[in-house]
C-alpha cells in the first residue's frame, strides 16, 4: 500500500466536494476514470505522492499536452483535493477480488510469436526500433496500460526540426513550438529560438509520426499480439 499523509475526515470531505466540481467529469466521481481523464486510483504519480508535492504540481500547472487545464485553487483547497484522491486510492487498493479499470492481467490475450512477427514484418516497427537497443528494458520501465499506450503512441517522444533561414546557417534542434505562423526550436546549447514561417524553410522529423500512420492499419489482434511481444522486453 502506498504511504500517504493522514488527513482528517473533514479535509477529505471538503476535497470530495471540490473534486466533484472540478475534477469528476474527466476523472470520474470516484477518481476511477471518467470522460478522457485517467483512473487516479491506479496512478503511479498518486501512489508515490506523500502529501501533495506531486499531485499539487499537476493541479497548479495542468498538463496542457494531455488536455488538462491548470486550476487556480488555494493551497488549502489543493491539500483537501490531495486528501480525497489519496483516500480514494486507498479504498480502491484495499478492495478484494477483480477491480474495475484496466489491470495488467486484462491485457494478456495476445500471441507472443504473432506479435514478434508483426514487429519485424507488417508493422514495420523494426525499421526504427530494436528489442536490444532503444526498447531494451521497456517492459521494466512501463507495464500494463501505460506500456500499451506508449507502444501505440509515445506522446512524449520529442521531434527534431531543421530550420533554414533565408540568410545565415541552417539550425537543428528540438522542436519547441509550431503553428501555421511560427516555428521554434531549442538548440544544442539550450537556447530557445523562433522564426516567422514565411521567412524560413523548415523540416520536422517526428519519430511518433510512424505511429499515427499505423492507426488505420492495426487490427485489435495485431495490438494484443504486439503487446504480448513488447511485454517480454525486460
Amino acid at each position: 500500500m502506498p504511504v500517504h499523509e493522514t488527513y482528517t475526515p473533514l479535509v477529505i470531505e471538503a476535497g470530495g466536494s471540490l473534486f466533484q466540481q472540478n475534477c469528476a467529469f474527466c476523472h470520474g466521481k470516484d477518481a476511477g476514470g471518467g470522460e478522457s481523464g485517467p483512473d487516479l486510483t491506479r496512478s503511479k504519480l498518486v501512489s508515490t505522492d506523500m502529501k501533495g508535492e506531486k499531485i499539487g504540481e499537476v493541479i497548479r500547472n495542468g498538463r496542457p499536452d494531455k488536455g488538462m487545464p491548470r486550476f487556480g485553487l488555494s493551497d488549502q483547497e489543493i491539500t483537501s483535493l490531495v486528501a480525497f484522491v489519496h483516500s480514494q486510492q486507498d479504498k480502491a487498493m484495499a478492495q478484494t477480488g477483480t477491480r474495475k479499470g484496466v489491470d495488467v492481467s486484462d491485457l494478456q490475450t495476445g500471441d507472443l510469436e504473432a506479435g514478434k512477427k508483426y514487429f519485424n514484418g507488417a508493422g514495420g516497427c523494426a525499421t526504427c526500433h530494436s528489442p536490444t537497443g532503444d526498447l531494451a528494458g521497456v517492459a521494466t520501465r512501463y507495464q500494463g496500460l501505460k506500456l500499451e499506450q506508449q507502444m501505440l503512441y509515445p506522446r512524449d517522444a520529442k521531434s527534431k526540426v531543421t530550420v533554414t533561414p533565408s540568410a545565415g546557417p541552417e539550425l537543428t534542434g528540438q522542436l519547441a513550438y509550431l503553428d501555421e505562423f511560427t516555428v521554434a526550436l531549442i538548440d544544442s546549447t539550450g537556447v530557445y529560438r523562433s522564426w516567422p514561417i514565411v521567412k524560413v524553410k523548415y523540416k520536422v522529423d517526428a519519430p511518433a509520426k510512424a505511429h499515427i500512420e499505423l492507426f488505420d492499419k492495426y487490427t485489435d489482434d495485431d495490438i494484443h499480439n504486439l503487446m504480448a511481444y513488447i511485454q517480454t522486453l525486460h
Partner: protein
Amino acid sequence: MRLLKGALLLSAIALLAVRLPQALEAQNVDRAMLTRPPKDSWPAYHGDYSGRRHSPLVEITPKNVKDLTLAWAFQTEQAAIIKATPILIDGILYFTVPDNIWAIDARTGHQIWRYTAPPNKAFHIGQRGVSIYKGWLYYMSSDAHLLSINPKDGKVRWDVVVADSSKGQWSTMAPLIVGDHVLVGASGDFDNLQGFVRSINPETGATQWQWDATLPVGTPNKTTGGNVWMTGTYDPDLNLVYWGTGNPTPVLNGKPRPGDNLYTCSIVALNPETGKLVWAFQPSPHDTHDWDAVEVPVLVDGDFHGKPRKMLMQASRNGHFFVLDRTDGKNLLTTTFGPVNWTLGIDKEGRPIPNPAKEPAPDGRLIAPDEGGLTNYRSPSFDPKTGLFIVSAAPSYSLYFAKPADGTYGWAGADYSLWSKGVLEAIDYQTGKIRWSHELGDGRSGAGVMTTDSGLTFTGDAAGNFLALDTSTGKTLWHAGSGSHIQSPSITYELDGHQVVLTSSGGVLFAWRLPSVSQ
C-alpha cells in the same frame, strides 16, 4: 454665447438621440425578433433559430480583415475558460462561466453587473450562455436550476429546479426560447438517469410539458440516458424544434441495454406547444462510445440534388455527417468526415451500423474517433454562397475497455485517447465530399466556427490563435495569438453602425473591429 448656444443645441440633439425609441431594448426581444434578429444584435445562442451561425454582415471582408484591431478585452479574472456564446441586446453583452453571469457594455467592455451563484456541488465543466425573452434573462445553473434574471441589475426573479443535481445531473446549456416556452434539459451520464426536454413558462417558471428521451429508470433491458445538454434549433414555418440527445447509460457497457436504445444519440423533432415527438433519426444506434448526438442540428433551406428541400444537417460526434429532410426526418446523405473504424456500413435508413467487435472489451479496442469525438458541441457553420458546412474536426484514435467488474452503472468501463489533431473541414453538403481542409495543429481546437456573408470564416486553432479564413478556399487571411485555449465560437454584430467580431479565449473576451472605426 454663440458657442454656448451651439453646445446647448448639441446636447439637445444628444438627448434626443438617447430618447429615440430603440428597436432592441431587452423587453422587445420577442418571437419575431428571435426569428429575424436585427444586425445590431446576437439575441440567442446560435444567433438565430437556424443554428447556421452565419451572419449577413459584410463590412469586414476578405480584403480588409487583415486590418482588424482590438477594440477592447474583458477579463473575467476567473480560472474557468469561457465556453459561452455571449448574447448582445441593446448594446449590452451578457455571458457566463459556471456560477457567474456578466453584463458588460459592448462599447467599452466594462462591467455593468455580475451575478454569482450560491456555492453548489454540481460539476462545473462549462456554461454556454444565457437566453433572453421579453425583458428577462434565463440561465441554467450548474446544479440544474433555471433562473429568471433581470437584465437591468442581475437580480433573480425566480428559481426553479429542473433536475435533482444530488442524483447526478447538472447543466451547461443556454435555453432555447420559442414563443412562451423556455426549453431546457440537463447533462449527466455518470449515473443511469432519464434525459429530457422540458418546457417552462417564462413568466412563472411552471413546467408546461416534458418529453423524456428514455423510459423510466429501472425498466428491464431498456436504456437510460439520452440527456439533452445543448441548445436546440427551431423552424418557425414547420413549428418544430430540433434537438440532439446524448448517449445511453450505462455508457461503455451495452449488454444491459440491447437494441437501438431509442431515443439516445438521436436527432428528434418536437412540437414546441405540446412536446410531442414528430420524428426521430438516430445517428448512433446502440452507442457504446459516449458519442452524444447533441451537436447543433443546423437548418438549411436549399437545393438538394436538384430539388428544393428543407434540410437538417449534423456533423456528429461519431464521425458521420448527416443531411436529413427536416419535414419528416428522412435521410438524404450520410458520409464520414474523418477516420471512423467502428461501423459495418450504413443501413437503408442512412444510419451507421455499429460493429459489435468494436464495443469496449476487457483487452481493449482501438477506436476512431476517440471519446471526444470527430467533433463535439462547438458550433459548426453553414455558408449559403459556397454550400459549405464547415466543422472543426478532431481526427483521433483511442482505446476502449469494459469488463464485468466495471459494472452496469454510469460509466461502466474506461477509455483512453491516444492521439488527436485539429482540422477544419469544409464539407460540400450535396455530396459529403470535403472541398478543403485547414490543419489546426496537434491536440484539438475548441473554437467552433462562424461564417459571414462577405466570405469569411472565423475559427481558432489548437495553439490558441484566432483565425479568419477565406470561406471559398480555407486560406488564412488574419490571425492573432490569444494566449490561451479557445473554447467558444465567435459572434458578430453591428455596433454604432460598424461590424464587430467578438471572440473569447481562456477567461477573456476580445472585441475586434476595423481601425477606421476607432475613436
